[in-house]
C-alpha cells in the first residue's frame, strides 16, 4: 500500500462524510445514517471510488470505536462502575444467552448447518457500541435509565467477545492460530488461560502507577502538543497491548479510561481525544457503508432480508422482555430495544475470523456481512419511528414528565482558575457542600489541591473543547477566576457562543476590564479593586472615630453607586468619551457621598433610576 493511495482513499472517505452528513442532518436524521449513506455512495457499487485500502481504512476506523470506549471509561468513575456490576451482569448475560439461544434455534429449524447456525447466532447477539453510544450522546440521553441500561448491555457484550473468540476454534474443532498472541507464547502453558485476568491486572497496575505520573511528568513541560501526543500514545498503546494479550482492544481502552477517570487529567484527555474519536468513528461508519456487498444481496435478496427481519425481531423482543423484567419505564424500554437491535461491528471481526477457521464459506461470509451492515442502517430509522410515532402516544406522556434525567450527577458549577482568588470562591462553596468542577492549568497546584480532597482537573480552559469536556453543556454556572484578563475574556466569548444557558461570573481587576465585560453582556462582574478597597476605607473611617454602622452604610452605598457608575461609563466608553465622563463621575460621586443617607433630597434621585439599584 503506497502513501498516495491511502491518502487519496482517506480523502474520498472524508469527502463523502462532509457532503452527506449536513444533508441528512437537514432532514433531521442521525449523523450515522449520513456516514453510512456516504459509504454506500463511494462504495464499489455506486461510484467505485474506494480502492483496495478499505481494510486499512476500516482498521483505522476501529480505532474510533476504541477511543469512544476510552472516553466512556473516562466518564464513569470506578465506584459508579462497581455499583453497576449487578446490572451489567444481569442484563448483559440474559440478553446474550436469550438472543443466542433463540437465534440458534431459528437457524437450526431453518436447516442451517448447526455449527454455522451457532456462529451466526453468536455474532448476531452483539450490538453496535459505536452506533448506540454515538446516538446516546447525540440525543444527550446518556444519563437516563435507557442510557444506563444500554450501556450495561453493551459493556457486557464487549467483555463477551473474548470468550466467543476463544469458542470459535473449538466449534471449528481446530486449534486457534495464535498469530496475534505474541506475548502469550512467552508465558508458561498453565498461565495462558489466565490471560484476561493478567491483562486487566496489568492495566490496573499501569493506571495506578504509570499513567498518571507519566502524564504529570509531561504536563510539567508545559507543552500542549505533548499532552495530545501522550493521550494518543496511551489509547493506542493500551489497545495494542490488549491485542497482544488477545483481549478486545475496546475493552482495554474502556478499562484504561476507567483507571484515569479519577485523575486530574480526565478533562484534558477528553478534550484531546474527542476530535480524533469523532473523525475516526466517522471513517468507521463510512467504511461500513462502503463494504455492503450489493451483489451478494441481489443474488438472494429473500434470504438476506428475511434473516435481517428475523434477527431484528428476536433482538427487539429479547431486549424488551429484559427491560420489562428489570422494571424499565415503558418509554425507556422501547428506546433500549430499538437502539440495541442492530448487529454490532464486532460481528465483522468474528465473521472474518470464522471464515479463516473454515467455518463459513466466502459466500456466507459476504451474506452475513451484508446482513450486519443492513441492520446497522435500520437502527437510525427505527429510532426515528420510536421518536415520531411511539413516544408521543398517550401511555408515555406521564412517564416523560416524571423521568429523572440525572442518575449520574453532573456537577452544575465550573470554576476556571484556582489561584488565590478562585480558591477562595471554591472553599466557600465547598463549606456548604456545593460541588464544583474545577479547572486549573498548574499541574503542581492541582496535585496539592487533589490531595486535600478537592476535585480539580488539569487543563487549559482557553482551549475550545476543554470546557465541553468539563461539562459546560449541562452546567449552569461558569465562574471565571483567572488572573489574566485575555484568558477570561476568550473563555467568556467562547462560552457565550457555544453554551448560551450558562450564567457567567467573571473576575475583573479594575474598572477598565469591567467595561469590556459589561459591553460583552456579562452582568456578574467582581472587581478585585472594589470590595476590598471599600472594606479598607470603611475600617479607616471607623478608626477616625466614625460610628461603625454609619461607616458600613456609607461603604455599601458607595459600592452601589460605584457599580452604577461603571455601568454608565461602560456605555460611554463605547462612545469614546472616557476622560470627560471619568471626571464627571468623580464629581458625581463626591456630590453623592457628601449626602448622608438621611438627607433625602428626592429630586436628585428621581431621574437617576440606575443609582437606586
Amino acid at each position: 500500500m503506497n502513501e498516495t493511495s491511502l491518502a487519496f482513499t482517506a480523502l474520498i472517505f472524508l469527502g463523502a462524510a462532509i457532503i452527506m452528513v449536513p444533508l441528512v442532518r437537514k432532514l433531521g436524521l442521525s449523523a450515522v445514517i449520513g456516514y453510512i449513506l456516504g459509504g454506500i455512495i463511494i462504495g464499489p457499487f455506486c461510484l467505485k471510488l474506494t480502492g483496495n485500502d478499505t481494510d486499512d481504512i476500516m482498521h483505522a476506523g476501529e480505532f474510533g470505536v476504541i477511543m469512544l470506549l476510552f472516553l466512556v471509561g473516562l466518564e464513569i468513575e470506578p465506584r459508579k462502575f462497581w455499583t453497576m456490576r449487578k446490572r451489567i451482569i444481569g442484563m448483559g448475560l440474559s440478553q446474550m444467552v436469550l438472543t443466542v439461544v433463540s437465534l440458534f434455534l431459528i437457524f437450526y429449524v431453518a436447516k442451517w448447518r448447526p455449527d454455522q447456525a451457532l456462529v451466526a447466532a453468536l455474532c448476531f447477539a452483539l450490538s453496535s457500541t459505536a452506533i448506540v453510544l454515538q446516538t446516546l450522546k447525540e440525543k444527550n440521553i446518556f444519563r437516563t435509565q435507557a442510557g444506563e441500561a444500554s450501556f450495561s448491555i453493551l459493556l457486557f457484550q464487549d467483555i463477551a467477545v473474548i470468550p466467543i473468540l476463544a469458542l470459535l476454534p473449538i466449534i471449528a474443532k481446530k486449534s486457534a492460530d495464535e498469530e496475534n498472541q505474541i506475548l502469550l507464547q512467552y508465558l508458561p502453558d498453565w498461565l495462558q488461560p489466565f490471560s484476561i485476568i493478567l491483562g486487566v491486572a496489568a492495566l490496573i497496575f499501569l493506571g495506578r502507577y504509570v499513567f498518571v505520573p507519566f502524564l504529570r511528568y509531561v504536563s510539567r513541560s508545559g507543552m500542549n502538543e505533548l499532552l495530545a501526543a501522550s493521550s494518543l500514545f496511551l489509547v493506542i498503546g493500551v489497545s495494542e497491548l490488549m491485542y497482544a494479550v488477545g483481549l478486545s482492544p475496546a475493552l482495554g481502552a474502556f478499562l484504561a479510561g476507567l483507571m484515569l477517570a479519577n485523575s486530574e487529567f480526565r478533562h484534558e484527555l477528553e478534550s484531546q481525544i474527542e476530535p480524533f474519536k469523532g473523525l475516526l468513528l466517522a471513517v468507521f461508519f463510512v467504511s461500513v457503508g462502503s463494504t455492503i456487498n450489493f451483489f451478494v444481496i441481489m443474488q438472494d435478496p429473500m434470504f438476506i432480508f428475511s434473516t435481517v427481519i428475523v434477527v431484528l425481531l428476536v433482538k427487539l423482543l429479547v431486549l424488551y422482555g429484559i427491560g420489562k423484567f428489570f422494571k424499565l419505564k415503558i418509554d425507556q424500554n422501547f428506546l433500549v430495544a430499538f437502539a440495541l437491535s442492530q448487529i454490532g461491528e464486532f460481528a465483522f471481526v468474528l465473521v472474518n475470523y470464522s471464515t479463516q477457521l473454515y467455518l463459513l464459506s466466502p459466500q456466507l461470509n459476504a451474506q452475513l456481512m451484508a446482513i450486519t451492515a443492513i441492520t446497522m442502517c435500520v437502527t437510525p430509522i427505527l429510532l426515528i419511528i420510536n421518536e415520531k410515532f411511539i413516544e408521543p402516544k398517550k401511555i408515555f406522556v406521564k412517564n416523560m414528565e416524571s423521568e429523572s434525567h440525572e442518575p449520574i450527577k453532573k456537577q452544575r458549577i465550573i470554576i476556571v482558575g484556582f489561584g488565590f482568588f478562585g480558591s477562595t470562591v471554591g472553599r466557600l462553596l465547598r463549606s456548604t457542600g456545593t460541588k464544583a468542577t474545577i479547572l486549573d492549568n498548574d499541574a503542581r497546584r492541582v496535585n496539592l489541591l487533589r490531595s486535600n480532597g478537592f476535585k480539580v482537573y488539569y487543563g487549559d480552559a482557553t482551549k475550545p473543547g476543554m470546557l465541553r469536556s468539563a461539562g459546560a453543556e449541562t452546567a449552569d454556572l461558569l465562574i471565571l477566576c483567572l488572573d489574566n484578563f485575555e484568558s477570561n475574556y476568550s473563555i467568556l466569548e467562547y462560552a457565550k457562543k457555544n453554551f448560551p444557558q450558562l450564567k457567567i461570573f467573571v473576575r475583573a481587576k479594575n474598572r477598565l476590564e469591567a467595561y469590556d465585560f459589561l459591553n460583552n453582556g456579562v452582568d456578574n462582574i467582581y472587581r478585585e479593586t472594589l470590595g476590598t478597597a471599600v472594606d479598607m476605607a470603611v475600617d479607616v473611617l471607623k478608626a477616625t472615630g466614625m460610628r461603625a454602622y454609619a461607616a458600613r452604610r456609607l461603604g455599601r452605598r458607595f459600592m452601589l453607586i460605584d457599580k452604577a457608575m461603571v455601568r454608565k461609563l461602560a456605555k460611554e466608553q463605547l462612545k469614546d468619551q472616557v476622560t470627560f465622563t471619568l471626571k464627571d463621575s468623580l464629581d458625581q460621586e463626591a456630590k453623592l457621598l457628601a449626602e448622608d443617607s438621611h438627607s433625602f433630597d428626592e429630586s436628585q434621585w428621581n431621574d437617576n433610576e440606575e443609582y437606586l439599584n
Partner: protein, 173 residues
C-alpha cells in the same frame, strides 16, 4: 383590585412550611407586586430612595411575616424605620395618604397562649401595636388583620383553606 404591594419578610424562609404554601396566593395576580425583603436586601442595606419613590404608586400594602420573638422580623422593622419619614407627617403632600393596609402574621404558638389570660398574657394584635400605630400615624388604615396560630403544624389542606379565606377577604384575584 387595588394596586397592591406585598411586603413579605421571613428571616428563615427555608425552614418555613406554612408561609411557603400561603405566599402561593400571590402568584400571577395582576396589579400586585410581591417584595421579598430578605431576598432583596440580604445585607440589610435598604435602597431608601427607591422604596420611597415606588411606595407612592400603590393603593394598598400587605405586610406578611412570621412573628419573631413576639415582634416584627428585624428587616421589616428596619424597612419601616428607613422608608417612613417623620417629616412626611407635617407634609402637605404625604406620600402615604389614602392607602390602606392588611397584616398577615403567622405564629408557632397555640391560640390559647395568646390570650389575656393565656401563657403569654397578651394577644397578637396587642404585640403588633408598633406596626399598626406607625401605619395609623401615617394615615394608613389597617383594614384586615389575620393571625395564624400553630403555623408549623397546619396541614396542606388547612393552609389552602386559610389562603382561600384571605384571598376572598382581600379580594385577591
Amino acid at each position: 383590585m387595588k394596586k397592591t404591594l406585598v411586603i413579605f419578610a421571613h428571616p428563615y424562609f427555608e425552614y418555613s412550611t406554612a408561609n411557603l404554601e400561603l405566599i402561593k396566593m400571590y402568584d400571577g395576580v395582576e396589579n400586585l407586586e410581591f417584595k421579598d425583603l430578605y431576598e432583596e436586601y440580604p445585607d440589610f442595606h435598604i435602597a431608601t430612595f427607591r422604596e420611597r419613590k415606588r411606595i407612592r404608586t400603590f393603593e394598598r400594602l400587605i405586610f406578611h411575616f412570621p412573628l419573631i420573638w413576639f415582634g416584627l422580623p428585624p428587616l421589616l422593622k428596619l424597612w419601616i424605620d428607613e422608608v417612613f419619614d417623620m417629616k412626611w407627617i407635617s407634609d402637605e403632600d404625604h406620600p402615604l395618604t389614602n392607602k390602606d393596609a392588611a397584616i398577615i402574621v403567622t405564629a408557632g404558638g397555640k391560640e390559647e397562649y395568646y390570650q389575656k389570660d393565656g401563657v403569654y398574657g397578651t394577644t397578637i394584635p396587642e404585640l403588633m401595636k408598633q406596626l399598626t400605630l406607625s401605619l395609623k400615624v401615617n394615615n394608613i388604615e389597617v383594614k384586615e388583620f389575620f393571625a395564624l396560630y400553630n403555623a408549623d403544624d397546619l396541614k396542606e389542606n388547612e393552609l389552602k383553606e386559610i389562603s382561600q379565606t384571605i384571598k376572598t377577604k382581600l379580594e385577591i384575584r
